[in-house]
């Protein structure tokens, strides 16, 4: 099947070439970090986690969102998702892969990373996160491979894969729950110490992942002869509407709890995030942009006439992805550290080299995604012909 990825149009190869170039830049930059240490990032004593861990957190959501097509299609037999399911699974694979890479580049001693397996530690949430994340990657590889092969041969999915598909549903929930537990189980960080973190992560995942899928589906329809289906894309729009509404509701709950209770340790973090503290406000403009994008997205999604118009739906999807990327990929992790455990306000902003490494990982994920989507669409075109 991989042969489908070896033939393609000029733009296909151009895309792969550009992504490969960015991967090389990222890799060379990572080698610098490997030899000099994490000192070349913007991280510090007070803010020990930053861009890398934030991207990991955001991408776990993207990976988990595959369940939003898998569940309706395989469990509820919602036929319209028949063509979309594979795109969802093929999005989850590079998302998981990038998660693992973002964790890896964040390690101070990457050569020792296998110590997590050599000295398994069940009381560490990070241990469980490694298990659920790699497990989810494996599940999606197995499921997409089996279902896709069957489909290509014109057969229903093999019987043995059904239980695995059902397992992947709670497993998808688990990857984002366990990732939330990384944060919300820490008494040291009041900003994260909230039981709503896991539900909030899931809600944002079910908004941002399907939004990304809408954009990819529209793109696929534009550049290939394969059409994932108008109904399927519209249904994704509904899923995004619910996910985004619930996500914004949860954010509101957090803000109410912090400001109405007036507990200083929570108020301070939210104040830093949206307004800045002691003149430090590097995140505030981003967060207001995130709020504005959320408002725009909700407006476009709530009005059925606009949502069903694919141009507006695309704008809404871009807004959702951008709003939630700012929220999770930029603000959420760092704000837990500002102010620090000792009450100091020291800000974090990634360095250029840190950003290059992150772009390199996204590009590598982009290559995997492009190749998988190429295979999926080429086979589909073949079947349609």
């Amino acid at each position: 099947m991989l042969d489908k990825a070896l033939t393609g149009s000029r733009s296909y190869w151009t895309l792969l070439a550009v992504l490969s170039a960015l991967v090389v830049v990222g890799l060379v930059t990572y080698l610098q970090q490997f030899s000099q240490g994490l000192g070349l990032t913007g991280l510090s004593r007070d803010v020990p986690w930053g861009l890398y861990i934030s991207q990991f957190t955001f991408l776990v959501g993207v990976a988990a969102s595959a369940v939003m097509v898998v569940l309706p299609y395989y469990v509820h037999h919602y036929k319209a998702f028949g063509k979309l399911a594979i795109l969802g699974e093929f999005l989850a694979i590079p998302a998981c892969f990038m998660c693992v890479l973002f964790i890896f580049v964040d390690m101070g001693q990457p050569r020792r990373v296998l110590n997590i397996i050599l000295h398994p530690t069940p009381h560490s949430v990070m241990f469980w996160d490694m298990i659920v994340l790699n497990g989810y990657l494996l599940l999606n590889v197995v499921i997409s491979r089996a279902t896709f092969r069957a489909e290509r041969a014109g057969l229903p999915p093999p019987a043995w894969v059904k239980p695995i598909i059902y397992l992947s549903v709670p497993w998808a929930v688990s990857i984002h729950t366990v990732t939330a537990f990384l944060y919300c189980g820490l008494a040291a960080r009041p900003f994260w110490l909230t039981a709503i973190l896991a539900p909030r992560f899931l809600a944002s995942a079910f908004a941002s992942g399907p939004s990304l899928l809408i954009l990819l589906a529209l793109l696929v329809r534009k550049v290939t002869k394969f059409d994932p289906g108008k109904e399927a894309i519209a249904k994704l729009g509904e899923i995004v509407t619910y996910g985004m509404a619930v996500n914004c509701f949860f954010v509101g709950l957090e803000i109410f709890t912090a400001f109405y209770s007036g507990r200083p340790e929570e108020v301070e973090h939210f104040t830093y995030l949206y307004a800045g503290l002691h003149g430090h406000n590097v995140l505030a403009p981003w967060m207001w942009a995130s709020l504005a994008l959320s408002a725009l997205a909700l407006f476009l999604l709530f009005i059925p006439k606009l949502r069903r118009n694919e141009t507006f739906l695309a704008i809404a999807a871009v807004s959702v992805v951008a709003a939630l990327w700012i929220d999770k990929g930029l603000g959420m992790v760092v704000t837990g550290f500002v102010p620090s455990a000792l009450g100091h306000v020291n800000e974090y902003w990634p360095t250029g080299r840190e950003a290059l490494i992150a772009i390199g990982i996204y590009s590598l994920g982009g290559i995997v995604l492009t190749v998988l989507y190429k295979i999926a669409t080429a086979v589909r075109e073949e079947l349609q012909a």
Binding site: G37, G39, S44, R45
Partner: protein
């Protein structure tokens, strides 16, 4: 043999080969005995008498006694600093005790801080490799050879007591001693001078404080009812940092 079945068998074999070191790591729990001449205790603790400490303004005896022998680097960039024991303003150490009427002098009063060697250390709970662990005598230790540098312990510590080597520390050590230097990419912190206890001596900060005739740092075994720390803990109005978090710090303050 088909290529696919070969790959399957090879994969299973590889998984089996990986299982061996895992199983070995699980079964080889090291059993060690304290060396003859070591000081042993059931539960080590430190009491910091701030009233005494205040009688020597500007004194850095304990800090110097710790950082130099332990090869703690003097990194100029505050973002990358390594600190085992240092001074913080009172308002940052005991934020809950500051009122709107607290005088600036008290708010800014330098207060000694270090690892609290908690009874329920969150750093130990979150560490994915057990590179940081609690000994039977209460000391929260660091195995810098096992640490993968994920910094989850720093995230979990409510006291900011842990430092990460963002860069190679060795160029920043003026006069290296015999104590092992660390490498970049690992976390480190105060160990209650486990290396001193192992040879029958008390922590260097405590000895230095006594050496200048101050005695503001009192170290001892809470498992021994007759120890000085036991008496202080029983009878004095002592403070602990962030007691509401359930970590149960074993560094006590007389304020």
């Amino acid at each position: 043999m088909k290529r696919r079945s070969f790959l399957k068998i090879a994969g299973a074999g590889l998984a089996g080969a990986c299982a061996v070191p895992v199983a070995e790591a699980l079964t080889h729990a090291a059993k060690t005995e304290p060396a003859p001449g070591a000081i042993t205790g059931k539960r080590w603790a430190l009491v910091i008498d701030e009233r005494k400490c205040l009688t020597k303004p500007g004194c850095n005896a304990c800090l110097q006694a710790c950082h130099k022998p332990h090869n703690v680097p003097a990194i100029p960039d505050p973002r990358h600093e390594i600190k085992w024991i240092w001074k913080e303003q009172y308002q940052h150490v005991f934020a809950d005790s500051v009122t709107p009427y607290t005088a600036a002098a008290l708010k800014e009063r330098p207060t000694i801080v270090l690892c609290n060697h908690c009874e329920n250390p969150p750093c130990v709970r979150v560490c994915p490799t057990q590179a940081t662990f609690k000994r039977a005598d209460g000391i929260v230790m660091m195995d810098e050879h096992r640490c993968i540098g994920c910094r989850y312990c720093i995230t979990g510590c409510p006291y900011g007591a842990r430092s990460f080597n963002f860069e190679d520390p060795r160029p920043h050590i003026a006069e290296p001693t015999d104590y092992p230097t660390r490498t970049r990419g690992v976390v480190e912190k105060c160990t209650f001078c486990s290396e001193q206890l192992a040879v029958g001596k008390r922590p260097l900060c405590v000895e230095a404080c006594e050496g200048i005739g101050c005695g503001a740092l009192i170290f001892g075994d809470l498992g021994d009812p007759s120890s000085a720390v036991s008496k202080l803990v029983r009878g004095s109005d002592l403070a602990r940092r962030k007691p509401g978090l359930g970590t149960s710090p074993h560094v006590f303050y007389i304020l």
